[in-house]
Symmetry: C2
Subunit: 343 residues, 2 copies
């Protein structure tokens, strides 16, 4: 279904400039909001109209199921908004299972007073991102909390996808000598959010890398690459993803810092803010672990900005990085967080 | 999997008496929280360990997918808590599609400062309610927002279930002469929440009716009842559910007020609070629309407290109620809400 993006909010803003508690109360106002603002925008009505759930037809085989809540602040940022993020984040979690994303649910928690125009803009972003990622929003829910008990809007999306291959993509499938391929430069999402939040400006605006990754992953699988493990680089960034995989897979991962691409402006911002780009969140980047003989082919499929940043060694659950000055250092997970509420 | 309910919170409360922002940051603290408090409590590790998503095997056929966010206040109330509600609410939405609930996702939005002990208690409620409803929590997500930007805890659950029959359960399947069967007395959940919130006390404590409805619905289907439509009576209560179905199905629904069971204490509380029990939310009650010749059999399967409250007439999308004094009145949806944040 192609979404028809009208520019005018279908809820009359003169009547309801802001979301009210009654918009979540189960009565006529809530039904009006759902019918006019959501059902008309999403593909929902195509599948499971007039139900609290949607019904779809599955083929026999493996399916993936995932969820994420999105609490990013600010809700609009260069390169996307909380709606774009809520679609791509969950699409990417499905892709990291090796699944083709099919269906999304959208659960909204709105704070009383949220401008209706913002909600409308976000609903359109959700529809547009879903179209771009090839998924259908087929079920949803809207709640409203009192002013001061939320923060504008929180979104949960859950996703269902289908696996059409026989691989077991998991840290447990990682083998010594596997190549570690990074899909592109790191740190843009986290820095875009921080810059928007703190009112920082750089020579050129740093935009979030927020994007769907399913096509890239499915291209690897379609090409017969024996993908061992996939991980998108969200909260905790590249470093945390590598530590998670090394730890869960019981292997050592060795990477070369000099090869890891970081945009010039992102690097500058990280220096000013005292952040290590290795730990900064991304929303459109992932790592793939593949057998060494397929590394070049996989890298080519993953695109021009992909690069082989290291390989797997036998050894016990740790990540070693050769730094730009040639010294090896152990990479660990941070204890807490660098950047709260980046997704 | 049977859950082992230990009484001691596995996160040392002396170290972390309250949830901190770092618990949602993607680092070691978050992983520790997920591993110790959630993965050990839920069935998650049984299916999709070490992934951002879970993988399960589906049979060919129809499946249901649904989501709800839960923002109830207070989070603990007589008869349940936000965790019980988050499981049963979504299980019931699947049941209302005629599906056998299989898998749940749990997305938590925690407010900085939430007592760790409360989170532990809620995690146990989720596990216990999932066990009771026969569903597995197989994937999840945890976010933390700054103090003052949330309200303790919000929970989203999404659910996946399977349909093992050929009926199209929908308002569009409702036919004139169908019997309308109500599964039990109404209004207990909403009144339990209001009483807890306002500090009201009655002769006996009014407990929420929060319960899973899937077994009851599946028993109807297994017995060969030609179920036309199902709806659980959450936000907006019995009245809104009937109006929704009448409106979507293009039929008139006639019900008899004298037959609708309302607990004595609930009726008293409604009078004091100026509420109409017809509009008060329930979390363990539903209506079934079935052909007239199967009404008695269906009612018997739905249990001792079920009753036939009315029937469907040809006519245009409205609900008519014969009141206790014998007069007919039109029932409409409320514009906004009676009771904010009851689920």
């Amino acid at each position: 279904m192609t979404t028809d993006f009208t520019l005018t909010c279908p809820i009359p803003l003169s009547d309801y400039p802001n979301v009210t508690l009654a918009h979540g109360g189960g009565g006529r106002l809530m039904h009006n909001l759902i019918d006019k603002l959501f059902a008309a925008t999403f593909a929902r009505q195509a599948v499971g109209a007039q139900h609290d759930g949607a019904v779809f037809t599955a083929s026999a085989g493996r399916m993936a199921f995932t969820t994420d809540s999105y609490v990013v602040q600010p809700i609009f940022f260069p390169g996307g908004d909380i709606g774009t993020l809520a679609v791509n984040g969950t699409v990417n979690d499905l892709a990291m299972c090796g699944a083709r994303p099919l269906y999304l649910s959208v659960g909204l928690i709105l704070e009383e007073g949220l401008p209706m125009q913002s909600l409308w803009r976000i609903a359109q972003s959700i529809a547009s991102a879903a179209d771009a990622a090839g998924v259908q929003v087929i079920t949803g829910d809207t709640k409203v909390v009192d002013k001061g008990k939320g923060d504008g809007i929180f979104i949960n999306t859950a996703g269902v996808g289908v696996l059409t291959h026989d691989l077991n993509i998991s840290p447990l499938a990682v083998r010594p000598d596997d190549a570690v391929i990074l899909s592109g430069d790191i740190g843009r999402h986290g820095i875009a959010i921080m810059a928007a939040r703190e009112g920082l400006s750089f020579e050129s605006t740093i935009e979030s890398d927020c994007a769907p990754l399913a096509d890239s992953v499915l291209a690897l699988l379609d090409a017969g690459i024996d993908v061992h493990c996939l991980r998108d680089l969200t909260r905790g960034g590249l470093a945390s993803a590598l530590v998670e995989i090394a730890s869960a897979g019981g292997v050592q991962v060795a990477v070369d810092e000099a090869i890891i691409p970081v945009n010039e402006d992102v690097r500058g911002a990280c220096e000013i803010l005292g952040l290590d780009p290795l730990y900064v969140a991304n929303e459109g980047r992932y790592v793939a672990f593949v057998p060494p003989h397929q590394a070049q082919a996989a890298c080519a499929i993953m695109g021009d900005s992909a690069c082989i940043i290291g390989h797997v060694q036998s050894g016990a659950g740790r990540v070693v990085m050769r730094s730009v000055i040639g010294a090896d250092r152990l990479i660990d997970m941070l204890s807490g967080e660098q950047l709260p509420r980046i997704c």
